[in-house]
Amino acid sequence: MLRHIFKIIYNQRKLNIFIFLELLLASCLLWAISDSLLVDVYTQRQPMGVDVESVYSFHLSVADEAMSSDSLNYRKTAEDFLQLVENVRQCPEVEAASISVSAVPYTWTTSWSCLLAADDTTTSPDLCQVFYVMPEYFQVLHIQTPEGRPVYEEAVRNPGEFIISQTLAEKLFPGVSAVGREAKYGNFGGDASIPRKIISVTKPRRRTDFERAEPVYYVLWRNDKEFLDLCENNSFLPTAFDFLVRMRPNFQPSAMADFLQKNSARLSSDNIYVSSYTPLNKYKTDMLKGRMDNQKKKTALVVFMLVNIFFGIIGTFWLRTQSRRAEIGLRAALGASKQSLQLQLYLEGLVLLALTLPLTLIFIGNMLLADLPDTYRLDYTWWRFVFPVIGSYVLLSAMILVGISFPARKIARMNPAETLHYE
C-alpha cells in the first residue's frame, strides 16, 4: 500500500513539488516558532521572586517654591520624606511602605555594581544589579528566603548590610551557605576595603517574566540616620527615590483614587507631597508589551501558515481527484470500497508531509549547530526537541486531514458508472 502511494506521489511529482515545498517551509518555520514560544512560556511560568500584586508606586513632588530657591535644605526634605512615609504606614488600608533607589520592579531605571566575597582577591567581578533599600522593601514585595521565610524578619533581626539573591550566593560561595559571611564591593560601588556582612539570601529574582534569574544584591540602610546622611551628602531630593506601598489584600484597586483623596492631608509633609501613583501591574504590562505582542504576532503567523496549508491541500487534492476521476472510477469498479479510496487520499497527503521530516530534521540540526535557538533561558534537552517537532507535525497533519476531507467527501458521492464514463 505505502509503496503504491510513494509511486503515485512520484508520478505526480510536478504537481506535488509545490505543495511539498510549502509543507517543508511550513514545518521548518512552525518548528522555529513553536520552539521559541516554548522557551517563552517556560520562562514565563518560573517564579519571579517578587510579588507586585497590590503594590503601588507613589510619585513625589517638591513644592515649586522649595525647588526654585537656592538654599534647598536636603536634610530637611529627607526628614519630611520619612515623615510622609510614616504617615502612609499609619493608614489602616496600608500593609507596608518602603523607600528604595532604582528598585521598582518592571522599570528601566536600574543600578549596577559588583560584589565579591570578602577574602576573594583573584576573581574579576561581573556587574550585577543592585538595589538600595530599607528593610521594609522586602515586606512590600513579599521577598522570601529560598526556604520560604520572609526576608524582612531576618533583615530586622540580624545586623549587617548585604542581602544577596540565591543566584549570586551560588556564584560567590559555591556549595556553602552565604548567610553570615562577608562581602565587599568590586572595583566600584563603594569602598572595597571594608567587608560587610551578608544577612540573608533571597529566592532567585528575575527582572521580567521573559528573562532568566540573574545575580542581584541589596544594600540596606539600617536606620533613618544613614538615609538622611545619604541625602544630605549627595544632594538627593526625595524625588530621586522610589516610594512603594503595599495595600492590604482585600483592598480593591478601584478604591485607590478615593483612598488618596480621603488621606490627602496625610500625603504631604511641608514641602513635599504625593502627587500621583502607578500600580506596579501597569509597569508590568508596559514593560512586557513588546514580548507579549511578539507572541501574538508569532501566533498570527502560525495561523496564516495553517490557513495556507489548508488552502493548498484542499486545492491540490480537489483538482487531483477531478483529474483522476477515471482512475478512481476504475478502482471502484474493481471492488475498492469508498473508505479505502478515501483512505488512500488521506495517506497520500500524510506521506507527502512525512517526506518533509528528514529535511526538517536537517534544518533543525543546522539551526542547533549555528546555535540559533535560545539555549540561555532553557537548555536544549530531549523534551525541548520532541515537543515542538511533534507539535508542529500534529498541527500540519490536522490541517492536511481537514483539507483532504473536502475532496474525500466528493469521492464518497461519486458514482463509479459515471466516472468511468469519462474513460
Binding site: N11, Q12, K14, L15, F18, I19, L21, E22, L25, A26, L29, H59, S61, A63, D64, M67, S68, T239, M256, A257, L260, Q261, S264, Y273, V274, S275, S276, Y277, T278, K289, M292, D293, K296, K297, A300, F304, M305, V307, N308, F311, G312, I314, G315, T316, W318, L319, R320, Q322, S323, R324, A326, E327, F406
Partner: protein, 427 residues
Amino acid sequence: MLKQYLKQAIQIIQENRLVSCISVLGTAISIMMVMIVVLVMQIQLVNFYPEDKRDRMLYLDGGGTHVVGNNHQRESNGNMSVETAKACFYSLETPETVSLYCSEDFAFSLPARMMFDAYPVKEVDSNFWKVFSFRFIEGNSFSEADFDAGLKQVVLSETLARRFFGSTAVVGQEILLNRVAYRICGVVKDVSKAASTAYAMAWVPYTSIPAVMRQEADYENIRGLLSAVILAKDASDFESIREEFLAKVNQYNTTKRDYQVDFNRNPVTRWEKLRGSSGQSYVEWKDYWLETGALLLFLIIMPALNLLGVTQSSIQKRQAEIGVRKAFGATNRDIIGQVLCENGVTTLLGGFVGLVLSLVALPICKDFLLESSNTSLSLSMLVRPSAFIVALLFSLILNLLSAGIPAWRISRKEIVEALKNHEETNK
C-alpha cells in the same frame, strides 16, 4: 484580445468555484498580511494631524544625549539641559524652527478637589506650536513672551477638558498640575499616540517647571531633561543642518573642561526612525530590510506555492486547448501573456479583498501591532494612494510567482505533444 482573456478568466472562475474561491481567498489573506506590515510602516512615516511636516523633520529623542568624561571615568546617555539646548539647538540658523521639549506625567486636579490620576504632559517651548499643526478648538497656545516669563499656562486636549469640566469652553479657568495652579489658555483636538513626538494630553511651557530649568552641576551642566525636534525648510537641507549642528556641538564642547557632549548619530530622520534607529543604536538599511524583507517574502512565498499547485493543474487540463492555439499560430509570448492575464484576474480580485481586509484588521489588532496600546487611528493614516499602489504591486508579484512557471512550462511544450496529451496526463 484582453477582453477575450477576461471572458475566459471569468469562465474559468465559474467553472471550478471551490478552487477559484480558494485562490482568491489565499491571495486575499496573503495581501492582507503584507498590507498590515506595510500599513504599520506607513503610520510611522506619513504626515497626519498634528505631525504633518514629518518629511521635513529631524529628531533627537529621549536618551540621545551622550556625555563622556574626558578621562573616560564616567559616561551617560540621557537628555540635555537648557544651557546645552541653547548652545547646540536654538542657535541653529539653517532650519526653519527648532523645538525643545520633555515628557512627564502629572496628576490633574480641580482647585476644589484633589485628584491623583496621572496624565501624560509635554513640557514644550513656543516653537513647538510652529513645528506641529495643532487645531485649536478654543483659545490659543501660549505666546513666546509667556514662555519666556515662565507663566503657568496649559493647553488641554479635548478629552481632558471634557473629563474635568464637561465642556471645551474652559479658557481662563484654573486647573492644578501636581497641586500647582495653571491657567488654561487653549483646548486642542486630541492627538493620536501614533504621533508620538506631539502626543500628550496637555502641554505646558517648560519654563514653568523648576525641575526642567534647574541646572545640575553634575556633568558640567550638560545633563538635563530636554529632547529636540528640528523642522527643516526643505528635506534637502538635512545634510547642511547636520553640518551646522556638528559645528555648534564642537564649539560648545570647547567651553567644557571635564566633559564632552556628543549626540551619537542624532538627529535622525523619519525614515531612520522607521527602521528602529535612534541615534544611540543605529540600524542600517541592510539589517532592516533583511528582517522586514524576509517577513514579506515569506508572506508572499507561502501562498505563491499554494497557487502554483492550483494553476499548474488547471493549466495542464487545458493543454489540448493551448496546443490548438499554438497550432493556429499563437506564439509562446501570447500563451504566457494569456495565462498571466487570466491568473491576474484572480490575484487582482484577491488583492483588492486583501487590501480591504487589512484596513479592517489593522484597527482590530492595533493593540499588539502598534507600539503603544490604545493608539487611535484615523483615515488619513491608513487610506493613502501609496497603500493602493503597494497592494497592486504585491498582487502582481504574487501573480508572476504563482503563474509564471506553469505558463512558461506550458508554452514550451511541443504542439504535437500538447495535442496528444489529453486530460488525464498530469505528469
